[in-house]
């Protein structure tokens, strides 16, 4: 595939609010990217020129924010709406190996969709097997977090990541990774065995640590994980906010590689 042919959609509904910076991250790398309202995929009221289909794109992103206000549960309304109008399309999209990224609210959506942890390769959108629960601190917090990259090569979004530890900030109230009670160890074993763990929270010394380094109380300090095929990634921290470096220099930031990696992957298809 050629760089000029790549098309990336960042999908929005009311309340998603990190779509513009996510679109910009791709555009800054010279790739076509646009924010697309979910309605553009299915609604009759949308004019022809604005109608879209998932097959128009090579990569989709569910951005951060408070989709539908995060009322009911973070990401619940958005994912329920996707299930009702796009379920099959999304399944085919993932099955064809195209990458899907969920950042923050987007991770919550992928979890609600059953696309993550995504153990079953044949059912990339299935039943819910994890939840992103209310932070142990019971509050929204915006702070920097340090992430240790632990993926051994499966995840298409971190292939080009050379640094062992990166800094992506977090900003959420519901980001605690929870697996079904009693099955936690089993899940973690499978994730490790399948190389699905991508990022884990660490402190300034690089050690797995508790609050505030693990900002939400996630089990096993999990900050981000991918499906068994490696083409769906969900993470709570925001790489698009560190496309440029965190401290004012306007230079390369830690988050940039996420976007570069997936472009590289798409070009290799």
């Amino acid at each position: 595939m050629q760089k000029e042919d790549l098309k990336i959609a960042v999908i929005r509904i009311e309340g998603t609010n990190c779509e513009e910076e996510t679109v910009m991250a791709f555009r800054n790398l010279g790739v076509f990217s646009e924010a697309v309202h979910l309605k553009q995929f299915y609604s009759d009221m949308i004019r022809d020129s604005e109608q879209r289909s998932l097959t128009d794109y090579n990569c989709i992103v569910f951005p951060g924010g408070f989709s539908a206000g995060d009322y009911v549960r973070a990401g619940a309304v958005f994912s329920a709406r996707i299930k009702s109008v796009l379920r099959d399309d999304l399944r085919d999209f993932i099955n064809s190996g195209y990458p899907v990224l969920g950042i923050c609210n987007g991770f919550q959506i992928l979890a609600e969709l059953g696309a993550l942890p995504g153990f079953d390769e044949d059912k990339p959108v299935g039943k819910q097997e994890m939840a992103l629960g209310i932070n142990d601190s019971n509050r929204f917090e915006c702070r920097p977090s340090l992430l240790k990259h632990e993926n051994r090569g499966k995840c298409v979004f971190t292939k080009a990541l050379e640094k062992e530890i990166v800094m992506f900030p977090v900003a959420h109230a519901e980001g605690k990774v929870i697996f079904p009670a009693g099955k936690e160890e089993d899940y973690i074993d499978r994730l490790r065995k399948n190389d699905q763990i991508v990022f884990r929270y660490v402190d300034a010394g690089g050690n797995y640590a508790g609050y505030p380094w693990n900002p939400n109380g996630s089990i096993y300090n999990i900050a981000g994980l991918c499906n068994v095929r490696g083409n769906v990634l969900g993470l709570m921290p925001h790489p698009e906010r560190v496309f440029f470096d965190y401290y004012r220099k306007n230079e390369i930031g830690d988050g940039r590689t996420i976007f570069e990696s997936v472009i590289e992957y798409l070009l290799s298809l």
Binding site: V72, A80, S84, Q128, A131, G133, I134, N135, S137, N138
Partner: protein
């Protein structure tokens, strides 16, 4: 028909909201509080011919949207 749908956490799932509320109550001087847990209720009014139909409808809503089966359970109580 009107029903109250209760969404609550499954046994064993941590309840930061309940914990934080307990802590805040104790700070305010309510020393006798032993435990607080939080739930969420949706009062839903539906048009339906009979209770069975309404119940089916509302269970559908819970499964599709209102509850996350990994951590939550729900019960339905009829108000009228």
């Amino acid at each position: 028909m009107i029903a109250d749908v209760y969404i609550y956490l499954k046994e064993g799932v941590a309840d930061p909201e309940g914990e934080a509320t307990k802590k805040a109550l104790r700070l305010l001087g309510f020393k006798n509080v032993k435990k607080v847990s939080s739930r969420k209720v949706f009062r839903i009014e539906v048009d339906a011919r009979n209770r069975e139909e309404a119940e089916r409808e509302i269970s559908g809503m819970c499964e599709k949207l209102l509850a996350n089966p990994v951590i939550q359970k729900y019960t339905i109580q009829w108000v009228e």
